[in-house]
């Protein structure tokens, strides 16, 4: 294993500590509960939005905490759900009189932790709702999932919900917006290589030098099939066809297109993929209004990418375009 890591069990806390040290004015790291929160949370004039998941998907979600985005993120260890009591403590720390919305990708472990935390919080009198994201079209059920998995398209649900929260929308309205965005968002990804969790020290699965895993999960779960590596145009066509046909997106639709890197793929390749996907969508009569190219939801050092589409209307477009300030800034 070749990584920048000290003791592997300190990987997540030392990453969170670094994140907070790099953003001393805006973020607060609470080591007792392994969480990152906004320095100004909770704010009485807005619903607090919290997201949790296993670590190893950065920037999701600890680097999405900030103005116009999350109020807090409570990650678990690498590829492991956070403990329910840490989620519960997070709710208590950021609870606003307007309530708390929990955003969670649909994995069995995460569902259990967040539903338990929701129950504990509600028993204490907190106004809490939990929204699940399941944008991955690759497989119906999966290693860690009943139903579809939540992957990179989660970004769009989070961005829209958090923009509305910043403007004072109430808890039910946020839930409505989140469900609406989730319903028009679809994603599929593929792996060129496996990834190596720090505590395991070796690749999570074996993938021959000339094969790819089409429809891979963000924890290295199997996808639809293994196939031979092909030129980018063919790989993009396969991903895009699966995504487009699922909703389906049709000629005349306006969409946001995301090309998400899985951690080990350089930005140059992601822009190449973007260009090919853009042209293939144009051939289908689908118009791209908003473009996202980079890393949004990764799988440690996995080489690979996912494509996401969101069908836009005025409400969603406007929420996605709202200003936000998070750790992953360029300046």
């Amino acid at each position: 294993m070749k990584k920048f890591v000290n003791d592997p069990k300190d990987y997540v806390p030392q990453m969170l500590e670094g994140l907070a040290l790099a953003n001393p004015d805006t973020l607060r790291y609470v080591p007792e509960y392994n969480l990152i929160m906004r320095a100004d949370a909770p704010r009485e004039d807005k619903v607090s939005v919290v997201q949790g998941s296993g670590s190893g998907h950065e920037p999701a979600h600890v680097m999405n905490v900030g103005k116009g985005m999350l109020d807090a993120a409570c990650p678990g260890d690498v590829f492991a759900a956070p403990p329910a009591d840490f989620v519960y403590e997070t709710v208590k720390l950021v609870a606003s009189p307007k309530g708390v919305l929990l955003l969670v990708n649909n994995y069995t472990g995460d569902r259990m932790a967040f539903e338990m935390a929701e129950e504990l919080s509600q028993a204490d009198g907190y106004a809490v709702r939990t929204l699940f994201v399941d944008d991955d079209v690759a497989v119906q059920d999966s290693t860690y999932t009943v139903g579809r998995r939540g992957v990179a398209g989660n970004f769009f649900v989070m961005k829209a919900v958090c923009a509305a929260a910043e403007r004072g929308a109430d808890l039910d309205e946020l839930y409505r917006i989140g469900e609406k965005v989730n319903a028009v968002t679809r994603t599929m990804g593929m792996a060129l290589t496996a990834c190596t969790p720090p505590a395991k020290g070796s690749p999570l699965f074996e993938l021959p030098d000339d094969e790819v895993e089409m429809g891979v999960g963000i924890h290295g779960e199997p996808g639809r099939n293994r196939e031979k590596l092909q030129p980018a145009d063919e790989l993009v066509r396969e991903l895009l066809t699966a995504v487009v046909d699922d909703l389906p997106y049709t000629s005349g639709d306006t969409v946001a297109l995301m090309v998400n890197g899985l951690g080990g793929t350089p930005i140059g390749e992601l822009y190449l993929v973007y260009g090919r996907a853009h042209k293939q969508l144009a051939e289908r009569g689908i118009e791209i209004r908003r473009s996202y190219v980079g890393e949004y939801c990764t799988s440690l050092d996995m080489a690979g990418a996912s494509l996401s589409l969101v069908r836009l209307d005025d409400e969603i477009s406007e929420l996605l375009a709202a200003p936000a300030e998070i750790a992953l800034r360029v300046f």
Copy 2:
């Protein structure tokens, strides 16, 4: 080779095409000269700033074109300087009455191309100056260099110069600012793995599973030495000591700290490295005022990172904080 690529000779043009398609309102791709320019360039009220280098270092420099940043970037093929006549054509396309500043990292091939383009442009009556960046402390001369190499610290020179250009500073003033920032900027990087150029199809060098290349160049050039992989704290200490001792940076200095990923290292590890470097600088009495964590200058898919320091004064701090809008935005 496992990459998202079609014919390897199309890697750079298809990447540039994707970049322009993702930014239709702000960027223009000129395939004849392999360049990316601002849609609003040239502007009569500012010096145009152009940067060139080999490709494979993205986001440097084609993804740094935009308001408050570069007016154009003219990359060569992967790890190859752009042809002098392409640089010359770029100058003509973006020439402003206030002049053109060419920013170049110090590599022999790039120097030749840009100095020739400068001469050709000056013979045509254009006001052009060329500024070289050489922030890498690893080695005195190198495979492709007489004198020190220019690496990730280039970002700070570019950002400061472009901020001043946006406000109307003249060519000589930009040159002064660029030399000033370069003089207080130092960088050293290290490789955990080699990188694979698309046209070569195999790793550029061999690095055993338990060794790192300390002081590696951004084209995979040898650094100071090969050594055994160590815990992150020790790797950071070695990089930081080389950087700090070189200027030197001393107790009481205020600095910007950049942790730059080389392409294959996930953002979680970069934040872990940031935290360790932050603490080691604090022990030395050096205060971090600005933090940069992410990919600024990469080497294709190489796993590894570099650390850069800039000694700040009021002028540099203010220029680094100026607003800018480039392709690599989060929203």
